[in-house]
Protein backbone atom coordinates (compact mmCIF):
# COMPACT_ATOMS: atom_id res chain seq x y z
CA UNK A 1 0.00 0.00 0.00
CA UNK A 2 1.19 3.42 -0.93
CA UNK A 3 1.45 5.70 2.12
CA UNK A 4 1.31 8.83 0.01
CA UNK A 5 -2.13 7.74 -1.14
CA UNK A 6 -3.27 7.28 2.44
CA UNK A 7 -1.86 10.66 3.29
CA UNK A 8 -3.64 12.26 0.36
CA UNK A 9 -6.90 10.54 1.24
CA UNK A 10 -6.70 11.84 4.78
CA UNK A 11 -6.22 15.37 3.54
CA UNK A 12 -9.05 15.05 1.09
CA UNK A 13 -11.28 13.53 3.76
CA UNK A 14 -10.53 16.37 6.11
CA UNK A 15 -11.86 18.79 3.54
CA UNK A 16 -15.07 16.89 3.03
CA UNK A 17 -15.62 15.79 6.59
CA UNK A 18 -18.93 17.57 7.02
CA UNK A 19 -20.42 15.55 4.21
CA UNK A 20 -19.33 12.33 5.82
CA UNK A 21 -20.54 13.19 9.31
CA UNK A 22 -23.98 11.73 8.81
CA UNK A 23 -22.57 8.41 7.65
CA UNK A 24 -20.02 8.32 10.44
CA UNK A 25 -22.76 9.09 12.91
CA UNK A 26 -25.12 6.38 11.70
CA UNK A 27 -22.33 3.85 11.37
CA UNK A 28 -21.08 4.54 14.89
CA UNK A 29 -24.61 4.43 16.19
CA UNK A 30 -25.20 0.97 14.72
CA UNK A 31 -21.90 -0.31 16.08
CA UNK A 32 -22.70 1.34 19.38
CA UNK A 33 -26.07 -0.38 19.63
CA UNK A 34 -24.68 -3.74 18.59
CA UNK A 35 -21.76 -3.63 20.99
CA UNK A 36 -23.93 -2.32 23.83
CA UNK A 37 -26.61 -4.94 23.44
CA UNK A 38 -24.20 -7.81 23.12
CA UNK A 39 -22.04 -6.53 25.96
CA UNK A 40 -24.95 -6.01 28.30
CA UNK A 41 -26.33 -9.42 27.59
CA UNK A 42 -23.00 -11.18 27.93
CA UNK A 43 -22.30 -9.21 31.06
CA UNK A 44 -25.63 -10.11 32.60
CA UNK A 45 -25.13 -13.70 31.61
CA UNK A 46 -21.79 -13.68 33.37
CA UNK A 47 -23.39 -12.06 36.38
CA UNK A 48 -26.09 -14.70 36.37
CA UNK A 49 -23.63 -17.51 36.10
CA UNK A 50 -21.98 -16.27 39.24
CA UNK A 51 -25.14 -15.58 41.17
CA UNK A 52 -27.07 -18.61 40.00
CA UNK A 53 -24.22 -20.76 41.19
CA UNK A 54 -24.54 -19.11 44.56
CA UNK A 55 -28.29 -19.66 44.70
CA UNK A 56 -29.63 -22.34 47.00
CA UNK A 57 -30.76 -25.46 45.18
CA UNK A 58 -34.36 -25.03 46.29
CA UNK A 59 -36.39 -22.23 47.84
CA UNK A 60 -39.69 -22.96 49.58
CA UNK A 61 -42.22 -20.13 49.78
CA UNK A 62 -45.60 -20.31 51.41
CA UNK A 63 -48.39 -18.96 49.26
CA UNK A 64 -51.72 -17.53 50.24
CA UNK A 65 -54.18 -16.35 47.66
CA UNK A 66 -51.48 -16.42 45.03
CA UNK A 67 -49.16 -14.15 47.02
CA UNK A 68 -46.21 -15.05 49.09
CA UNK A 69 -46.62 -14.99 52.84
CA UNK A 70 -44.61 -15.98 55.90
CA UNK A 71 -43.82 -19.62 56.44
CA UNK A 72 -43.72 -21.52 59.76
CA UNK A 73 -40.17 -22.07 60.93
CA UNK A 74 -40.68 -25.68 62.04
CA UNK A 75 -41.10 -26.71 58.43
CA UNK A 76 -37.36 -26.21 58.10
CA UNK A 77 -36.71 -28.98 60.63
CA UNK A 78 -39.12 -31.21 58.78
CA UNK A 79 -37.41 -30.60 55.46
CA UNK A 80 -33.96 -31.18 56.92
CA UNK A 81 -34.91 -34.77 57.65
CA UNK A 82 -35.61 -35.62 54.01
CA UNK A 83 -32.89 -37.94 52.69
CA UNK A 84 -30.58 -36.11 50.28
CA UNK A 85 -31.09 -32.75 51.94
CA UNK A 86 -27.95 -31.48 53.58
CA UNK A 87 -29.55 -28.60 55.38
CA UNK A 88 -32.61 -26.35 55.44
CA UNK A 89 -32.49 -22.79 56.72
CA UNK A 90 -35.32 -20.43 57.46
CA UNK A 91 -34.61 -16.97 56.13
CA UNK A 92 -35.96 -13.70 57.37
CA UNK A 93 -35.61 -10.98 54.83
CA UNK A 94 -37.59 -8.44 52.86
CA UNK A 95 -37.51 -5.35 50.73
CA UNK A 96 -37.30 -1.97 52.36
CA UNK A 97 -38.46 0.94 50.27
CA UNK A 98 -35.98 3.82 50.43
CA UNK A 99 -38.10 6.86 49.66
CA UNK A 100 -35.29 9.35 49.01
CA UNK A 101 -33.98 7.48 45.98
CA UNK A 102 -37.07 5.52 45.06
CA UNK A 103 -35.35 2.13 45.34
CA UNK A 104 -35.78 -1.08 47.28
CA UNK A 105 -33.09 -2.40 49.58
CA UNK A 106 -32.93 -6.07 50.41
CA UNK A 107 -32.76 -6.43 54.16
CA UNK A 108 -31.41 -9.81 55.24
CA UNK A 109 -31.68 -11.03 58.79
CA UNK A 110 -28.75 -13.04 60.14
CA UNK A 111 -27.85 -14.59 63.43
CA UNK A 112 -24.49 -13.01 63.97
CA UNK A 113 -23.38 -15.79 66.31
CA UNK A 114 -24.02 -18.68 63.90
CA UNK A 115 -22.92 -19.75 60.46
CA UNK A 116 -25.03 -18.04 57.83
CA UNK A 117 -26.83 -20.02 55.14
CA UNK A 118 -24.48 -18.45 52.63
CA UNK A 119 -20.71 -18.68 52.75
CA UNK A 120 -20.43 -15.08 51.62
CA UNK A 121 -22.45 -13.74 54.54
CA UNK A 122 -20.48 -15.82 57.01
CA UNK A 123 -17.32 -14.23 55.70
CA UNK A 124 -18.75 -10.78 56.20
CA UNK A 125 -19.92 -11.58 59.70
CA UNK A 126 -16.43 -12.79 60.58
CA UNK A 127 -14.87 -9.73 59.04
CA UNK A 128 -16.85 -7.40 61.28
CA UNK A 129 -17.00 -9.74 64.30
CA UNK A 130 -14.95 -7.47 66.56
CA UNK A 131 -17.02 -4.41 65.84
CA UNK A 132 -20.40 -6.12 66.16
CA UNK A 133 -19.73 -8.23 69.25
CA UNK A 134 -19.99 -5.36 71.63
CA UNK A 135 -22.98 -3.56 70.13
CA UNK A 136 -26.30 -3.96 71.82
CA UNK A 137 -28.39 -1.61 69.68
CA UNK A 138 -29.61 -2.22 66.11
CA UNK A 139 -26.78 -2.24 63.57
CA UNK A 140 -26.23 -3.23 59.95
CA UNK A 141 -23.58 -4.02 57.37
CA UNK A 142 -24.53 -2.77 53.92
CA UNK A 143 -23.70 -3.51 50.30
CA UNK A 144 -21.61 -0.89 48.55
CA UNK A 145 -24.56 0.36 46.50
CA UNK A 146 -26.59 0.94 49.63
CA UNK A 147 -23.64 2.54 51.36
CA UNK A 148 -23.21 5.02 48.58
CA UNK A 149 -26.86 5.88 48.46
CA UNK A 150 -27.10 6.44 52.18
CA UNK A 151 -23.96 8.52 52.12
CA UNK A 152 -25.37 10.65 49.32
CA UNK A 153 -28.35 11.30 51.56
CA UNK A 154 -26.07 12.23 54.47
CA UNK A 155 -26.58 9.06 56.47
CA UNK A 156 -22.98 8.41 57.42
CA UNK A 157 -23.15 6.60 60.72
CA UNK A 158 -26.71 5.54 61.18
CA UNK A 159 -30.03 5.34 59.47
CA UNK A 160 -33.57 5.57 60.81
CA UNK A 161 -35.70 2.75 59.50
CA UNK A 162 -39.42 3.11 59.73
CA UNK A 163 -40.86 -0.20 60.81
CA UNK A 164 -44.08 -1.67 59.48
CA UNK A 165 -45.81 -0.53 62.65
CA UNK A 166 -44.64 3.01 62.10
CA UNK A 167 -41.93 3.24 64.72
CA UNK A 168 -38.41 4.48 64.15
CA UNK A 169 -35.54 2.03 64.30
CA UNK A 170 -32.26 3.83 64.61
CA UNK A 171 -29.62 1.54 63.10
CA UNK A 172 -25.87 1.99 63.19
CA UNK A 173 -23.93 1.49 59.99
CA UNK A 174 -21.03 -0.73 60.94
CA UNK A 175 -19.43 -1.21 57.52
CA UNK A 176 -19.91 -2.08 53.88
CA UNK A 177 -18.87 -4.83 51.48
CA UNK A 178 -18.50 -5.42 47.77
CA UNK A 179 -18.45 -8.45 45.57
CA UNK A 180 -17.50 -9.42 42.02
CA UNK A 181 -21.05 -10.19 41.26
CA UNK A 182 -22.55 -6.94 42.35
CA UNK A 183 -26.02 -7.78 41.12
CA UNK A 184 -26.44 -10.12 44.01
CA UNK A 185 -25.16 -8.07 46.89
CA UNK A 186 -25.19 -4.46 45.84
CA UNK A 187 -28.52 -3.64 47.39
CA UNK A 188 -28.19 -5.91 50.40
CA UNK A 189 -28.36 -4.87 54.05
CA UNK A 190 -27.29 -7.40 56.65
CA UNK A 191 -28.88 -7.02 60.09
CA UNK A 192 -29.30 -9.16 63.19
CA UNK A 193 -32.38 -11.26 62.61
CA UNK A 194 -34.36 -10.02 65.63
CA UNK A 195 -34.24 -6.44 64.36
CA UNK A 196 -35.36 -7.55 60.91
CA UNK A 197 -38.31 -9.27 62.52
CA UNK A 198 -39.08 -6.00 64.26
CA UNK A 199 -38.70 -4.06 61.04
CA UNK A 200 -41.03 -6.27 59.01
CA UNK A 201 -43.13 -7.38 61.94
CA UNK A 202 -42.50 -11.08 61.56
CA UNK A 203 -43.02 -13.13 64.72
CA UNK A 204 -40.54 -15.65 66.19
CA UNK A 205 -42.17 -18.75 64.72
CA UNK A 206 -42.28 -17.55 61.18
CA UNK A 207 -39.78 -16.82 58.41
CA UNK A 208 -39.87 -15.32 54.93
CA UNK A 209 -38.91 -18.50 53.17
CA UNK A 210 -36.86 -21.63 53.54
CA UNK A 211 -33.79 -22.50 51.51
CA UNK A 212 -32.76 -26.07 50.98
CA UNK A 213 -29.22 -27.23 50.34
CA UNK A 214 -28.87 -30.38 48.27
CA UNK A 215 -25.31 -31.54 47.51
CA UNK A 216 -26.19 -33.88 44.65
CA UNK A 217 -27.72 -32.01 41.70
CA UNK A 218 -29.31 -35.24 40.43
CA UNK A 219 -31.59 -35.27 43.44
CA UNK A 220 -32.90 -31.72 43.14
CA UNK A 221 -35.80 -32.64 40.92
CA UNK A 222 -36.92 -35.58 43.08
CA UNK A 223 -36.78 -33.59 46.29
CA UNK A 224 -38.65 -30.76 44.63
CA UNK A 225 -41.49 -33.13 43.81
CA UNK A 226 -41.45 -34.49 47.33
CA UNK A 227 -41.71 -30.98 48.80
CA UNK A 228 -44.54 -30.22 46.45
CA UNK A 229 -46.63 -33.00 47.87
CA UNK A 230 -45.57 -32.33 51.46
CA UNK A 231 -46.58 -28.69 51.32
CA UNK A 232 -49.40 -28.16 48.83
CA UNK A 233 -49.72 -24.55 50.03
CA UNK A 234 -46.17 -23.73 48.95
CA UNK A 235 -44.26 -22.80 45.86
CA UNK A 236 -41.06 -24.76 45.35
CA UNK A 237 -38.54 -23.01 43.12
CA UNK A 238 -35.37 -24.80 42.06
CA UNK A 239 -32.18 -23.21 40.81
CA UNK A 240 -32.77 -24.69 37.37
CA UNK A 241 -36.14 -22.94 37.09
CA UNK A 242 -34.53 -19.57 37.73
CA UNK A 243 -31.70 -20.25 35.34
CA UNK A 244 -34.10 -21.21 32.55
CA UNK A 245 -36.30 -18.18 32.99
CA UNK A 246 -33.33 -15.82 32.81
CA UNK A 247 -31.95 -17.57 29.75
CA UNK A 248 -35.26 -17.21 27.94
CA UNK A 249 -35.47 -13.52 28.53
CA UNK A 250 -32.05 -12.96 26.98
CA UNK A 251 -32.42 -15.22 24.01
CA UNK A 252 -35.75 -13.74 23.14
CA UNK A 253 -34.49 -10.21 23.49
CA UNK A 254 -31.30 -10.61 21.48
CA UNK A 255 -33.29 -12.33 18.72
CA UNK A 256 -35.69 -9.42 18.56
CA UNK A 257 -32.80 -7.06 18.43
CA UNK A 258 -31.12 -8.91 15.62
CA UNK A 259 -34.25 -8.70 13.52
CA UNK A 260 -34.39 -4.96 14.07
CA UNK A 261 -30.78 -4.73 13.12
CA UNK A 262 -31.21 -6.39 9.80
CA UNK A 263 -33.78 -3.76 8.94
CA UNK A 264 -31.40 -1.08 10.14
CA UNK A 265 -28.73 -2.59 7.95
CA UNK A 266 -30.70 -2.32 4.79
CA UNK A 267 -31.30 1.33 5.57
CA UNK A 268 -27.63 1.76 6.36
CA UNK A 269 -26.57 0.20 3.09
CA UNK A 270 -28.81 2.52 1.13
CA UNK A 271 -27.61 5.52 3.08
CA UNK A 272 -23.96 4.72 2.46
CA UNK A 273 -24.62 4.05 -1.19
CA UNK A 274 -26.46 7.30 -1.50
CA UNK A 275 -23.86 9.30 0.37
CA UNK A 276 -21.03 7.87 -1.69
CA UNK A 277 -22.93 8.44 -4.94
CA UNK A 278 -23.74 12.06 -4.32
CA UNK A 279 -20.76 13.55 -6.11
CA UNK A 280 -20.77 17.31 -6.05
CA UNK A 281 -19.46 19.34 -8.97
CA UNK A 282 -16.41 20.02 -6.84
CA UNK A 283 -15.81 16.27 -6.31
CA UNK A 284 -16.15 15.55 -10.01
CA UNK A 285 -13.76 18.34 -10.88
CA UNK A 286 -11.24 17.06 -8.37
CA UNK A 287 -11.30 13.56 -9.80
CA UNK A 288 -11.05 14.98 -13.29
CA UNK A 289 -7.95 16.91 -12.27
CA UNK A 290 -6.37 13.86 -10.69
CA UNK A 291 -6.93 11.86 -13.85
CA UNK A 292 -5.72 14.68 -16.07
CA UNK A 293 -2.41 14.86 -14.23
CA UNK A 294 -1.79 11.17 -14.64
CA UNK A 295 -3.76 9.23 -12.04
CA UNK A 296 -5.13 5.89 -13.22
CA UNK A 297 -8.60 4.53 -12.59
CA UNK A 298 -6.98 2.13 -10.11
CA UNK A 299 -5.51 5.01 -8.15
CA UNK A 300 -8.90 6.64 -7.79
CA UNK A 301 -10.38 3.31 -6.71
CA UNK A 302 -7.55 2.96 -4.22
CA UNK A 303 -8.17 6.29 -2.57
CA UNK A 304 -11.89 5.55 -2.44
CA UNK A 305 -11.13 2.21 -0.85
CA UNK A 306 -8.79 3.82 1.65
CA UNK A 307 -11.43 6.43 2.36
CA UNK A 308 -14.04 3.74 2.98
CA UNK A 309 -11.67 1.82 5.23
CA UNK A 310 -10.73 4.90 7.21
CA UNK A 311 -14.33 5.97 7.70
CA UNK A 312 -15.51 2.52 8.64
CA UNK A 313 -12.60 1.77 10.95
CA UNK A 314 -12.92 5.13 12.61
CA UNK A 315 -16.67 4.73 13.07
CA UNK A 316 -16.21 1.19 14.28
CA UNK A 317 -13.77 2.20 16.98
CA UNK A 318 -15.81 5.25 17.87
CA UNK A 319 -18.93 3.12 18.22
CA UNK A 320 -17.12 0.41 20.17
CA UNK A 321 -15.39 2.87 22.44
CA UNK A 322 -18.51 4.81 23.32
CA UNK A 323 -20.46 1.59 23.77
CA UNK A 324 -17.96 0.16 26.22
CA UNK A 325 -17.91 3.47 28.06
CA UNK A 326 -21.69 3.61 28.09
CA UNK A 327 -22.09 0.06 29.30
CA UNK A 328 -19.33 -0.27 31.84
CA UNK A 329 -18.69 3.24 33.06
CA UNK A 330 -22.18 4.70 32.80
CA UNK A 331 -23.73 1.31 33.49
CA UNK A 332 -25.96 1.45 30.42
CA UNK A 333 -28.84 3.70 31.47
CA UNK A 334 -32.12 3.08 29.57
CA UNK A 335 -30.85 0.12 27.53
CA UNK A 336 -30.36 -2.12 30.49
CA UNK A 337 -33.95 -1.68 31.52
CA UNK A 338 -34.80 -3.34 28.24
CA UNK A 339 -33.07 -6.42 29.55
CA UNK A 340 -33.84 -6.29 33.21
CA UNK A 341 -37.04 -4.29 33.35
CA UNK A 342 -39.50 -7.00 32.55
CA UNK A 343 -37.78 -9.67 34.59
CA UNK A 344 -37.67 -10.02 38.31
CA UNK A 345 -34.01 -9.11 38.49
CA UNK A 346 -33.14 -6.60 41.10
CA UNK A 347 -32.80 -3.05 39.86
CA UNK A 348 -29.38 -2.17 41.20
CA UNK A 349 -26.26 -3.97 40.17
CA UNK A 350 -23.09 -3.27 38.26
CA UNK A 351 -22.38 -4.67 34.82
CA UNK A 352 -19.19 -6.66 35.13
CA UNK A 353 -16.71 -5.55 32.46
CA UNK A 354 -16.21 -8.54 30.21
CA UNK A 355 -14.69 -7.36 26.95
CA UNK A 356 -15.63 -10.11 24.62
CA UNK A 357 -13.36 -10.06 21.58
CA UNK A 358 -15.47 -12.62 19.83
CA UNK A 359 -18.36 -10.17 19.84
CA UNK A 360 -16.16 -7.34 18.59
CA UNK A 361 -14.84 -9.49 15.73
CA UNK A 362 -18.37 -10.52 14.90
CA UNK A 363 -19.58 -6.95 14.72
CA UNK A 364 -16.50 -5.91 12.81
CA UNK A 365 -17.08 -8.53 10.15
CA UNK A 366 -20.70 -7.55 9.96
CA UNK A 367 -20.21 -3.81 9.54
CA UNK A 368 -16.88 -2.88 7.96
CA UNK A 369 -16.99 -5.04 4.81
CA UNK A 370 -20.65 -4.15 4.35
CA UNK A 371 -19.79 -0.48 4.41
CA UNK A 372 -16.98 -0.88 1.89
CA UNK A 373 -19.17 -3.04 -0.34
CA UNK A 374 -21.81 -0.33 -0.36
CA UNK A 375 -19.23 2.11 -1.68
CA UNK A 376 -18.01 -0.15 -4.48
CA UNK A 377 -20.32 1.06 -7.21
CA UNK A 378 -20.22 4.76 -6.30
CA UNK A 379 -16.41 4.62 -6.13
CA UNK A 380 -16.24 3.02 -9.50
CA UNK A 381 -18.61 5.59 -10.95
CA UNK A 382 -16.41 8.42 -9.82
CA UNK A 383 -13.23 6.66 -10.89
CA UNK A 384 -14.35 6.49 -14.52
CA UNK A 385 -15.25 10.15 -14.85
CA UNK A 386 -13.81 11.36 -18.13
CA UNK A 387 -10.52 13.13 -17.67
CA UNK A 388 -11.24 15.60 -20.45
CA UNK A 389 -14.03 17.12 -18.38
CA UNK A 390 -11.42 19.44 -16.92
CA UNK A 391 -10.83 20.91 -20.37
CA UNK A 392 -14.38 22.13 -20.72
Amino acid sequence: MNFKLIDFTLKSLKRRLTKKLSVIFIFSLIVFLLVSVFSISSSIKKELEISVNALPEIIVQKMSGGRQTVIPVDRAYEIATIPGVQNAYDRVWGYYYFVNDNVNFTVVGLDFDLEAYKQKYSDIINLYAEATDTIDAPFMIVGSGVYKMLEDNFYKNFYNFRTVTGEMLETKIVGSFTDVSAMETNDVILMPVNYVRELFDISENYATDIVVRIPNPEEIEIIKQKLNSMFPDSRIVSRLDIEASYQNIFDYKSGLFLALLIVAFVAFFILVYDNASGLSIEDRREIGILKAVGWQVENILQIKFIEGSLISLFSFFLGTGTALFYVYILQAPILRNLFTGASNLKPTFNLIPVINFEILILIFILTVPVYILATVIPSWKSSVIDADEVMR
Binding site: K4, V293, Q296, V297, A387
Partner: protein, 222 residues
Protein backbone atom coordinates in the same frame (compact mmCIF):
# COMPACT_ATOMS: atom_id res chain seq x y z
CA UNK B 1 7.90 14.10 -30.44
CA UNK B 2 4.24 14.82 -31.16
CA UNK B 3 2.64 13.69 -34.37
CA UNK B 4 -1.02 13.67 -35.49
CA UNK B 5 -2.03 11.92 -38.70
CA UNK B 6 -5.48 12.65 -40.18
CA UNK B 7 -7.19 12.82 -36.82
CA UNK B 8 -10.99 13.11 -36.68
CA UNK B 9 -13.02 13.65 -33.57
CA UNK B 10 -16.73 13.08 -33.67
CA UNK B 11 -18.88 13.35 -30.57
CA UNK B 12 -21.95 11.20 -30.75
CA UNK B 13 -24.85 11.71 -28.42
CA UNK B 14 -27.27 8.89 -28.78
CA UNK B 15 -27.85 7.11 -32.06
CA UNK B 16 -28.36 9.89 -34.50
CA UNK B 17 -26.80 13.03 -33.24
CA UNK B 18 -23.18 13.29 -34.30
CA UNK B 19 -21.05 16.39 -33.93
CA UNK B 20 -17.83 16.55 -35.93
CA UNK B 21 -15.36 18.63 -33.97
CA UNK B 22 -12.08 17.82 -35.69
CA UNK B 23 -11.54 16.88 -39.33
CA UNK B 24 -8.38 15.46 -40.82
CA UNK B 25 -5.92 17.13 -38.48
CA UNK B 26 -2.28 16.36 -39.23
CA UNK B 27 0.75 18.12 -37.84
CA UNK B 28 3.88 17.37 -35.93
CA UNK B 29 6.01 19.00 -33.27
CA UNK B 30 9.64 17.93 -33.13
CA UNK B 31 11.70 17.60 -30.01
CA UNK B 32 12.44 20.89 -28.27
CA UNK B 33 10.14 22.77 -30.66
CA UNK B 34 7.50 25.27 -29.56
CA UNK B 35 4.27 25.14 -31.59
CA UNK B 36 1.33 27.46 -31.21
CA UNK B 37 -2.26 26.42 -31.88
CA UNK B 38 -4.44 29.37 -32.70
CA UNK B 39 -7.98 29.83 -33.87
CA UNK B 40 -11.25 31.35 -32.74
CA UNK B 41 -13.23 30.11 -29.81
CA UNK B 42 -14.87 26.76 -30.48
CA UNK B 43 -12.51 25.88 -33.30
CA UNK B 44 -11.21 22.78 -31.52
CA UNK B 45 -7.92 23.79 -29.90
CA UNK B 46 -8.70 22.30 -26.51
CA UNK B 47 -9.94 19.14 -28.18
CA UNK B 48 -6.61 18.72 -29.95
CA UNK B 49 -4.70 19.19 -26.72
CA UNK B 50 -6.82 16.67 -24.91
CA UNK B 51 -6.22 14.15 -27.69
CA UNK B 52 -2.47 14.80 -27.61
CA UNK B 53 -2.50 14.36 -23.84
CA UNK B 54 -4.52 11.15 -24.06
CA UNK B 55 -7.42 12.66 -22.13
CA UNK B 56 -9.72 11.69 -24.95
CA UNK B 57 -9.43 9.38 -27.91
CA UNK B 58 -9.63 10.35 -31.58
CA UNK B 59 -12.46 8.82 -33.56
CA UNK B 60 -10.13 8.17 -36.48
CA UNK B 61 -6.48 8.72 -37.19
CA UNK B 62 -3.14 8.21 -35.53
CA UNK B 63 -1.52 10.02 -32.62
CA UNK B 64 2.14 9.41 -31.88
CA UNK B 65 3.82 10.70 -28.73
CA UNK B 66 7.52 10.05 -28.26
CA UNK B 67 7.45 7.20 -30.81
CA UNK B 68 4.44 5.59 -29.24
CA UNK B 69 1.01 5.32 -30.81
CA UNK B 70 -1.64 6.37 -28.31
CA UNK B 71 -4.80 6.60 -30.42
CA UNK B 72 -6.12 3.31 -29.08
CA UNK B 73 -4.17 3.11 -25.89
CA UNK B 74 -6.41 2.18 -22.96
CA UNK B 75 -6.91 4.89 -20.35
CA UNK B 76 -4.76 3.08 -17.87
CA UNK B 77 -1.71 3.51 -20.07
CA UNK B 78 -2.44 6.95 -21.38
CA UNK B 79 -2.59 8.08 -17.77
CA UNK B 80 0.81 6.51 -17.28
CA UNK B 81 2.09 8.33 -20.35
CA UNK B 82 0.82 11.63 -18.98
CA UNK B 83 2.43 10.93 -15.66
CA UNK B 84 5.77 10.15 -17.25
CA UNK B 85 6.06 12.44 -20.23
CA UNK B 86 3.53 15.25 -20.21
CA UNK B 87 2.98 18.36 -18.15
CA UNK B 88 -0.44 19.96 -18.54
CA UNK B 89 -1.21 23.62 -17.89
CA UNK B 90 -4.94 24.24 -18.01
CA UNK B 91 -6.90 27.32 -18.84
CA UNK B 92 -8.67 27.41 -15.50
CA UNK B 93 -5.54 26.34 -13.58
CA UNK B 94 -7.52 23.39 -12.24
CA UNK B 95 -6.03 23.43 -8.78
CA UNK B 96 -7.63 21.68 -5.82
CA UNK B 97 -8.81 24.54 -3.71
CA UNK B 98 -8.56 23.33 -0.16
CA UNK B 99 -5.04 22.04 -0.53
CA UNK B 100 -1.85 23.98 0.06
CA UNK B 101 0.41 24.98 -2.83
CA UNK B 102 2.90 22.21 -2.17
CA UNK B 103 0.17 19.59 -1.85
CA UNK B 104 -1.21 20.64 -5.21
CA UNK B 105 2.15 20.50 -6.89
CA UNK B 106 3.00 17.00 -5.65
CA UNK B 107 -0.28 15.43 -6.82
CA UNK B 108 0.99 13.90 -10.08
CA UNK B 109 3.65 11.90 -8.26
CA UNK B 110 1.50 10.54 -5.44
CA UNK B 111 0.68 7.26 -7.20
CA UNK B 112 4.33 6.64 -8.13
CA UNK B 113 6.98 4.79 -6.19
CA UNK B 114 9.01 7.96 -5.62
CA UNK B 115 9.39 8.73 -1.93
CA UNK B 116 7.47 11.51 -0.30
CA UNK B 117 10.58 13.40 0.71
CA UNK B 118 12.03 13.30 -2.78
CA UNK B 119 8.77 14.51 -4.29
CA UNK B 120 8.71 17.40 -1.86
CA UNK B 121 12.32 18.25 -2.60
CA UNK B 122 11.53 18.36 -6.29
CA UNK B 123 8.47 20.50 -5.72
CA UNK B 124 10.36 22.91 -3.49
CA UNK B 125 13.10 23.30 -6.06
CA UNK B 126 10.59 24.19 -8.76
CA UNK B 127 8.75 26.52 -6.40
CA UNK B 128 12.00 28.34 -5.72
CA UNK B 129 12.68 28.67 -9.42
CA UNK B 130 9.19 30.11 -9.95
CA UNK B 131 9.65 32.26 -6.83
CA UNK B 132 6.58 30.98 -4.99
CA UNK B 133 8.49 29.10 -2.29
CA UNK B 134 7.26 31.53 0.34
CA UNK B 135 3.70 30.38 -0.45
CA UNK B 136 4.59 26.75 0.17
CA UNK B 137 1.91 26.00 2.76
CA UNK B 138 -0.71 28.54 1.79
CA UNK B 139 -4.05 27.22 0.56
CA UNK B 140 -4.22 27.85 -3.18
CA UNK B 141 -7.61 29.55 -2.97
CA UNK B 142 -5.87 32.29 -0.95
CA UNK B 143 -3.32 32.92 -3.70
CA UNK B 144 -3.49 35.59 -6.39
CA UNK B 145 -4.19 34.67 -10.01
CA UNK B 146 -0.54 34.90 -11.00
CA UNK B 147 0.57 32.80 -8.05
CA UNK B 148 -2.11 30.23 -8.77
CA UNK B 149 -0.83 29.91 -12.28
CA UNK B 150 2.72 29.41 -11.07
CA UNK B 151 1.48 26.63 -8.82
CA UNK B 152 -0.23 25.11 -11.86
CA UNK B 153 3.02 25.40 -13.84
CA UNK B 154 4.99 23.87 -11.00
CA UNK B 155 2.55 20.97 -10.92
CA UNK B 156 3.04 20.48 -14.66
CA UNK B 157 6.80 20.35 -14.19
CA UNK B 158 7.10 18.20 -11.10
CA UNK B 159 7.16 14.96 -13.06
CA UNK B 160 10.00 16.31 -15.21
CA UNK B 161 8.05 15.91 -18.46
CA UNK B 162 9.51 16.10 -21.95
CA UNK B 163 6.34 17.66 -23.29
CA UNK B 164 4.41 20.67 -22.03
CA UNK B 165 0.81 21.17 -23.14
CA UNK B 166 -0.80 24.48 -22.30
CA UNK B 167 -4.40 25.51 -22.94
CA UNK B 168 -5.05 29.27 -23.00
CA UNK B 169 -2.49 29.85 -20.25
CA UNK B 170 -2.87 33.63 -20.27
CA UNK B 171 -6.64 33.83 -20.54
CA UNK B 172 -7.04 34.66 -16.85
CA UNK B 173 -3.99 36.88 -16.49
CA UNK B 174 -3.40 40.57 -17.00
CA UNK B 175 -0.81 41.93 -19.39
CA UNK B 176 2.09 41.96 -16.95
CA UNK B 177 1.47 38.47 -15.66
CA UNK B 178 1.09 37.25 -19.23
CA UNK B 179 4.50 38.63 -20.05
CA UNK B 180 5.90 36.91 -16.98
CA UNK B 181 4.40 33.69 -18.19
CA UNK B 182 6.05 34.11 -21.56
CA UNK B 183 9.40 34.43 -19.80
CA UNK B 184 8.77 31.18 -17.98
CA UNK B 185 7.77 29.36 -21.13
CA UNK B 186 10.90 30.62 -22.88
CA UNK B 187 13.01 29.21 -20.07
CA UNK B 188 11.22 25.89 -20.44
CA UNK B 189 12.05 25.81 -24.09
CA UNK B 190 15.66 26.58 -23.30
CA UNK B 191 15.61 23.72 -20.85
CA UNK B 192 14.81 21.40 -23.77
CA UNK B 193 11.07 20.87 -23.38
CA UNK B 194 8.78 20.32 -26.35
CA UNK B 195 5.85 22.73 -26.11
CA UNK B 196 2.39 22.77 -27.64
CA UNK B 197 0.39 25.80 -26.60
CA UNK B 198 -3.16 26.72 -27.57
CA UNK B 199 -4.11 30.38 -27.40
CA UNK B 200 -5.74 33.15 -29.32
CA UNK B 201 -3.83 35.72 -27.32
CA UNK B 202 -2.00 37.97 -29.87
CA UNK B 203 0.91 38.22 -27.40
CA UNK B 204 2.11 34.84 -28.60
CA UNK B 205 1.86 35.26 -32.35
CA UNK B 206 5.06 37.16 -32.88
CA UNK B 207 7.30 35.51 -30.31
CA UNK B 208 10.65 34.59 -31.76
CA UNK B 209 10.91 31.36 -29.83
CA UNK B 210 7.89 29.87 -31.59
CA UNK B 211 8.85 27.38 -34.29
CA UNK B 212 5.52 27.05 -36.02
CA UNK B 213 1.95 28.23 -35.80
CA UNK B 214 -0.97 25.90 -36.48
CA UNK B 215 -4.16 27.75 -37.38
CA UNK B 216 -7.41 25.93 -36.71
CA UNK B 217 -10.77 26.96 -38.01
CA UNK B 218 -13.96 24.98 -37.48
CA UNK B 219 -11.98 21.88 -36.69
CA UNK B 220 -9.69 22.00 -39.65
CA UNK B 221 -6.15 23.21 -40.21
CA UNK B 222 -5.93 26.20 -42.49
Amino acid sequence: MIELKSVDKIYSHGEHEEIGVLKNISFSVKENEFSLLTGPSGSGKSTILSIVGGLSKPTNGEVIIDNKSIAKLPDKFSALLRREKIGFIFQKFNLINNLSAIDNITIPLIPTKISKSEIEQRAEKIMTELSIFNKRDVLVEKLSGGEQQRVAIARALVNEPKIILADEPTANLDKKLSLDFIQIIKQLKDAGKTILLASHDPLFTDLDCINNIIKIHLGEIQ
